[in-house]
Amino acid sequence: MKNSENDAPGLLTRIFRFYYEGFTNMSSWGRKVWIIIIIKLFLIFVVLKIFFFPDFLSRNYENDEQRSEYVLDQITKTPEADD
């Protein structure tokens, strides 16, 4: 028990150093793709998700019962009514 407690910080430190050294010694292409990844994730999860892609049913209906009623209406419409 005592040994594993002593080992744990060492392992975490080693993992931290592994990533830290990896990122600091990264090649130029690595830096470029990381910049692209960060910009991309920002655009996808902040700009697109919040402003352009709200969940339609969650936003317009308060609970699952209302959502299921709405979808039930949609799927049981006759084709003429849909037009």
Binding site: F18, V33, K40, F53, D55, S68, L72, P79
Partner: protein, 521 residues
Amino acid sequence: MIETADLSLVDWSRAQFALTAMYHWLFVPLTLGLSFIVAIMETIYAKTGREEWKRMTRFWMTLFGINFAIGVATGIILEFEFGTNWSNYSWFVGDIFGAPLAIEGILAFFLESTFVAVMFFGWDKVSKKFHLTSTWLVAVGANLSALWILVANAWMQNPVGMEFNPETARNEMVDFWAVLFNPVAVDKFLHTIFSGFLLGSVFVMGVSAWFLLKKREVWLSKMSIMISAIFGLLSSLMVAFTGDTSARTLAKVQPMKFAAMEALYEGSSDAGLVAFGILKKSEEKIGVEKQGHDFVTKIKIPGLLSIMTGGSRDVFVPGIRDLLNIGDSTRNIYSVNEMMERGTFAREILNDYKRARMINDEEQIKILSDEFFGNKEFMDESFRYFGYASLNLPEDAVPNVPIAFYSFHIMVMLGFFFILVCVIALFLLFRDKLTASKWFLWVAIISVPLVYIASESGWIVAEMGRQPWIIQDLMPVSVAVTKLSTGSVITTFILFALLFTALLAAEVSIMLKQIKTGPKH
């Protein structure tokens, strides 16, 4: 639908999804294939200890890393689109789609993303064995990711293992194994990953051929071509084999798509396979409005289509007109007219249920639940065709034939072309004539865009060929789509076009720079 000038909300929503999916698919197959090629190269390095192999592995790993990084998370947008643009569909199938996608996220994505760090940061920091294991785990993880996405897609092509709950208007998974081992899923997974392996191989051959033309990195390029040609040849043979088994499955579960892929309007036994053909609009219509097609010219292999679908020339292969009007009794396939009647009956029962629910008629709800929704015969013989109730005319069940036909034939022809490319590469390599055969080096370079065209064509067949369905026989795209303003869908379409084009341009630019720089270390 998409070919008409008056693009509706459904068409724009489909175009938006298609754009996102096709751009996403530009990144995925190279990850699937190149990850394994890199793992093979590193295995040789670990076995031989020769630095040239390490240098080679690191070079291709760099190109893998660029593609992986630019492509990662582009598929998430497809999930956003489900909730925003395809909300009815998303609700209707949420429980089924949830499980495979959750497993994909938890198991496969974390597996590959954890070990990608070791792949790139771990050289000279972890043991050779651990590094090699990480590289293999990234390859396996990437392909496992694909498995769960493809299982979800296969369910849309052949919905199995679920029960419809009229109370929630959702399908609920009742048999996970039926979903996982759905015959379409098995075929689709194998066909897709092997096509990704082939794409990775052709990519490596193309880049190596460029080095040979420039008289640079001759040893590295020849060895890269050797590995990729062997891997590519084996993969391309598996692509052909799994394509054949897919065709057999398709003929059973999506016969209309199968007929459209061959532009087969009139069915027959001893049906021939069109190896090459050019279509023209026929004067004869299908049904009331839809245009049929004839061949301007074609090369047909007698009897092969019957053999492919049923193992014998005597097997009847139904054409589009047969499927619309009489079905195929040998495979228990009803005509579209019959399925429309059955679907309409199912919709009436669901409407009765809806009305009973509105007035809280518990007794009627119980009767309908017991006699219909809890009744296997009703679910298998009527509700299974629920989506047909939403079609205006039987011919609405026919996909765009020229798109299905041409994309299928382009994919198949290029598939056989790549088998030839791999064989010639190995022949020239073992005869030591590769560097002198400039014509072949150019063929290898030109094959790189061609393999992407083949790969995208495969998805066009799969997705355009199953129209009008988003879920085969259960839900057409016109019902699945969210009633948003067309303008907002056009806006997001343009946003995606810009975002993905920028990402693709970034990838190509960084990758070309790395290729020009060549291997380091």
